[in-house]
Every structure is written in C-alpha cells, then in structure tokens.
Amino acid sequence: MIRLSDVAEKPATTPGKLSELAANPTSSFAKEVAEKSGQDISKCYQCLRCVAGCPMADFNDRGPADILRLIMMGAKEEVLGSEEIWACTSCDTCASRCPMEISMSRVNDELRRRAIAEGFVKPDNNIAKFHNIFMNVAKSRGRLNEPMLMAHYKWQTRDFMSDMGLGVKMILKQKMNPFVKKHRDSARIRRLFEGKK
C-alpha cells in the first residue's frame, strides 16, 4: 500500500513538518473548524474553482483551496497565523462556484475568530486593527461614527498623511459626518456585544 507520506512532495514552507501532517489528512483541527463554521470541508476535492474566482488571488500567496488543504492536514499554526484569512473580503465567490457548496468565507470567519481568541494576530495586522476599531466604535455608540472610526484607525496605525486629500474633500462635501448621534440605549448595545440577554 502506498502511504500519502511516501508520495507527498516537500512543501515550500515548513519543510518536513507538513509532510508529516500530510500522513493524517483529517485532523482534529479540521473537525473543529468544520463543526464551528458549519462547512463540510472534507468534501473538497481541490478542483480549484474557488482559487480561480477569488478576487484576492492576485494579492495572496495561496488561494482558498490551499488554505483548506492546510486545515485538513491539521496545520493549525500555519493557518491561524496566515495573511490569507485576513485578506478575505467575504464576497463568497468561492461558495458560488464550489461544486461541494463549501463557503471559504464562512470558514475564514471561524478561523479569524479563533486566531483572535488564541493570540495569533500579529501587531502589524492592519486589517485586524480596522475590524477591532469598527467593533469598539459600534459597541460604544451603537451606530458607527465614520470620522471617529477613521481617526482611531489613523492614530493606531500612526499613518496620518495617506488619504489626507481625500479626507479633506469628503469633509468639505459633508460626507464625513461627525454629528452622528450615539444610540440612546447604550446598556442594550453593550449587552448585544457582550452576549448577555
């Protein structure tokens, strides 16, 4: 009998470890991700239609099917520490093309949740920063205040100059409204974010 580890090629990243993992294609990590995301990821047969359709494919090293393969092999650190899960815009083109109806954007929702919970988010991850600021502003005000969101983002990334011209134009056109009122029931909003009834 030919074992998968006999024929697995040496991968480009973390040589050695991944080919060990390739011997056990359905790991507990894969089972957890499948259950929490509600996606039947073991059905993937690597047709790569998701990779062909993904709008982020030009900007990432790996496509959705590659990340899925890593999940199946149990490469948890590789996956949760990857840039790809954060670059996903949740457009669900993958799901619209997949013959097995797997939504990688739903899988990425779970992977991002878990990456945050288990401390895999790197300090220079501006996408994660943006989401975090969005959630904090929404939690404190119940509705977004877009100038506040952008001000916080610029401060946290220490990037004050980019888009300065655009920002000024938008303020002049009254498209950056600093007067958006806070939601009047802050307690209820806090409960929604904290998961309490």
Partner: protein, 272 residues
Amino acid sequence: MTTKFSYFPGCSLHSTAREYDLSARAVCAALGVELVELKDWNCCGATSAHATAPDTAHALGMSNLALAEKEKMDIVTPCSSCFSRLKACEMEAREDGCKGEEFKGEISARHLAEVLCDEVGPDRMSPLIRKPFKDLKAAVYYGCLMVRPFAALPGSDPENPTLMDGCLKLAGVTTVPWSYNTDCCGAGLSAPKPKVVESMTNRLAETAREAGAECFITACPLCQLNLDTRQTIANPLPVFFFTEILGWAMDLPGAAAWFPKHMISPQALLRG
C-alpha cells in the same frame, strides 16, 4: 403593493453615502412608498462583526429584526451590506423555527432595489419619468452582497442579477453587457489595503470602459465609495446610486444637490 416600510438607513447613509439617503427618500416619496425610520436601530455589524465575532453579529441582526417586528412592517434598507446581514440573520433564525429568539419571523428584511424595481416595478414608475437620460451607457454594478446569502433575492442569479435593469432602462440608461457586475470591489479593505482596492476598482473601471460604459450605477454605499475614491486610471468613471438615476429622470426637486457630493464629477453626463 406594500406602501409602508420600516426604514433601516444603516450607518453609511448618515455619513459617507448621504446622497444615497437623500435620493432614496425622495424617490420613495414620489412613488408613494412611505419610509418610517426604525427608532433605535443599531449597527448591523457589517463585515467586521461576522468576520471576528459571529455571535455578536447574530445578536446585532436579531436585535434589529425584533425591533422591526414590533412595528409590524417589513424592514427595507438601501445598503447591500446591511441587507445581507439582516437577511442572513433572518434566514438563520427561520431555519431553527426562531427557537429561543425574540424575533418570530413575522416580517422580512428587504433591499430597496427589490422594493423599487420589482414590487413597485417599471409599470408604476413609468408615468413619473419626465426627464429620461439620452442613452446613458452604464455598467450596472450590483456588487456581491446584494445577492448574499444566495437565496436572499429570489429570482436573482447570484453571479448575474438583472433586478435593476428594467427600471434603469425606463430612465434612459443603456446597460452594457459586462461580466464583472458582482465582482468584489475590495469592501472594507479600502482603509487597511488601499493599493489592493485601487487595483480591484481599476479592473472594474477598465473592463467597464471596454464594454462601452460611461459610468457605473450601483446600490451599495461601500461599492460606490470605493469606485468613487479609488480609481486611479486616466479617465475614471462617475459612480451613481440607482436612486440618483431614477430621481434625476423623475425630475425630482432637490436632485441637483446630490451630485456635487461625488468625488468623480458626473456633471458632464447629467447635461446629456
């Protein structure tokens, strides 16, 4: 035809997409569709909530649906992201028979494009078109979220919706054949990854020009914002909201005030 709805503007319509709110309200008023802004609506969570805290995303959606259910009217929103989130939460709750939820499934989340272009429809809209465009060639950019979840807009193809085309044609628009009408604009990556979004919007713009378009017409505040602010090609295309097109063609008072809010000026196309 339903004539009264709870209105969910969403956070952008009070700020970066002001002209969408103004034009949507004006067109609805002209067509006899009454919008009652849902008191105490909360942010739908957009992408950031479901992308980092799925339980919170669900709670935010259910909160709005429960509030809307008390008003006993369907909840309509012009924002594709808010629609997608409200609809996803509604469908998740319904799948479980609304067990354990305050929301009991008595009302539905609706996209304004479906209410105006299908429920009201071209026949009722036609008598109000007084100043149609003269063959305005447009790439109608639906964006991805209007058709997510895939069953959110029954009758619409998730890769090639045509919902708005009929009413836009009434307004004097020629919709160009274009295969990118649901291709992602880059969404919330505009702040953290502006170069990526530039690349994506430029591709939409170049292919739209190739197809013969003079402008984009869209129904999502973030799509409009990205297309309006991130095109770096030599002759960028102006980006309209579909309600601005309809409102202009209906010759509604105050319509002229919407267009100066665009970054890429559409004035040349309005003189048509």
